[in-house]
Symmetry: none
Subunit: 211 residues, 4 copies
DNA sequence: GATGAATGAGTATTCATTCAT
DNA sequence: TATGAATGAATACTCATTCAT
């Protein structure tokens, strides 16, 4: 391993260290109330150092989402490539993947959806926005492919595959966000998994072709 | 009309004047980038006057959501009371109501999610928070009733009515949010109505009882 | 009683009504934390009305002191005019007068001393400052006269009468203020009367001529 | 000198730099009219920097008083420890110390009274408030000891030592305050030292035991 | 005179970001 | 690279004062 490579690896380690700290702080305080100093302290670094790895606060925040999107994309792509599953089985596998995505980091996924619905998105650098856009598109594309195949094989109703993918994705994020805010407002217990199951079930019912 | 009554009306007019200005400014700049001075200028008032009608920036912001919640509640309650409609027809009427809610104020779902983030909720007065909770609960309750009736009459599958109501609402807001972020990310055209139609269609398929 | 006179009397009544309210509010909250609206509410008047009777907040505050100074002056002048008392007896009567001044309104007298030591004094109108100056001078003058007489009759040591008057006055205000701040800092019991008695006693000891 | 130590010293230098600037600005404009920006400019620093060294405006203000209290305490304790002085000589030394306290910072008594007004005290941190209380108590305690000793040796009349200490301090601060307000009101010349001398003289006369 | 709604200047404080070391 | 002290722009909110009614 060359010096260059070792340095590269070291650098990546630091980025992760910061991202992990940022995740904790953002989750606890939200974007606005979290300060760069909070994050620096959590990461046991100085504020200045953060700026060696991230252009600004917004990009650091967005990087968290990027991580989830990457994970999501890997999972979805994997489902897609799975041999020996028909479309219906792939849909089920996709649903399982979404549970895992949620389990991977429930708080950060809520952050991600908030990010997507927010003013922050407008202030990102073109590169980062491009990465997010690219990963979103790829993930939605992979989901669409599942539907496209299912429509072709007659498992699913004949609808626009991308629209289905969008709706699938919307349903997931809608449920996650709505349950999250119910928890804030009502301090209700956490029924997300149940609701998600029902939601996906309905979706499945709605989309499969009835013989 | 007595003096007291005229004053009351005048006061309400001012509130609306401010709310309208706030909506414009918040929509354009987002919560954080919008300043109270911006809003005051838009409303052609002085900053101090805003505080005569709203306790602080957060309550002004929350008032926007309150308006849509009130509208939503009225529409949903109305569907519910409609005589001579069976559960399936009520579901269709409910979907129409949601389109209208969206038309009434397309940005509002995004506002509502910002509002529902804990950061913002913590700073609201108890009264306002109560009103929001109350209206949310009532609206979801009214939607649940439609499902409950439908389940009893055998039009809908036997599922938990509140879960259905949550999913219905999640689907709606999820689609709105996702389309909004697609617009930011991709600058795509606005297909929301189509997507929403498909989404509701799927939901209907998914939830109705198959004979 | 003519109309003019009745109006004049009515006006004076309002001034007193405001002063009484202001006293309560200033005493409770201090100059800075007390708002004109607080005072208006306490006086059951509107904020605007206050400005018909007092030029601004500072002058209203200073008017409270003026009232005490007027009372003080009357008492001191009265002691001075008392026939049939020698200088020592007059000094004792003066000390009694000071107790009464303090009893007349302990909180306002503390305010008065704060006023005198403060930035507010610099911002008063010339007329009001003149009135305060005039009353102070007259009071101190009257006290000086007592000492002057006492020195001439050999009751008191031969010192500068005005200096004695200043010291007498300083001792009184110093003790009042110091006890007041001890109460804030230590939440001690109220020993002011005892301390004042000892202080005056020492003063008496210090100033009388020993045969 | 280690790096740590050098930094500590540097930090203390900055604190002093700010305190000096604050004293100038507060003296000229009074607490309310002085702005943090004024002070920052006077210190040739940015407003933000002030907050690295002082929690808020009130604590910065209180720090000025703390300085004089520390000086006062040192001087009084020193008098107290002096060997070979009898009580009367110690009282004289104490009076000299008070002159020096006044010379150290003539405006400080006025500052201290503003500080002691409850408005200000309420906003101080517990630590600072404790320091102030502690130093006040210690100083008064040290003065009391002088009187206590003098009473035991028969130099002073048999009175409550703490009351004597309170009166001694009240007399001092009362005279300083009164002379200060006379300067504002009458723009008179500065006779303070003379008045103070007479005042202390009277006090001495009043308190010593006559054979 | 009395009102009280509206004003808008005034400011303490925060915190993302920089840069000399 | 890493630091962290210093920056200074940015802003919500207050409240003495005014003035149309």
């Amino acid at each position: 391993m060359g010096i260059r490579e070792r340095k590269e690896r070291e650098k990546e380690r630091r980025r992760q260290q910061i991202i992990v700290a940022a995740k904790r702080v953002f989750s606890e305080k939200g974007f606005n109330k979290a300060t760069m100093e909070d994050i620096a302290k959590e990461a046991e670094l100085s504020p200045g150092t953060l700026y060696l790895y991230f252009k600004n606060k917004e990009e650091l925040y967005a990087s968290l989402s990027l991580r989830i999107l990457q994970y999501l994309h890997i999972r979805v792509a994997h489902v897609n490539k799975e041999q020996g599953l028909n479309a219906l089985e792939k849909l089920d596998a996709l649903m399982d993947a979404m549970y895992d995505v949620y389990d991977f980091d429930p708080l950060i996924i809520i952050n991600m959806f908030h990010l997507q619905s927010s003013e922050t998105l407008k202030n990102l650098s073109d590169e980062l926005l491009y990465e997010i856009k690219d990963l979103s598109r790829k993930s939605i594309g992979a989901i669409s492919t599942i539907f496209k195949d299912g429509i072709e094989t007659g498992h699913f109703q004949d609808r626009h595959p991308t629209a289905l993918a969008d709706i699938f994705w919307s349903l997931f994020s809608g449920v996650v966000l709505w349950e999250a805010s119910k928890k804030i407002i009502d301090k209700e217990k956490d029924y997300l998994k149940d609701t998600l199951k029902t939601a996906f079930d309905l979706f499945r019912n709605g989309v499969v072709a009835h013989p």
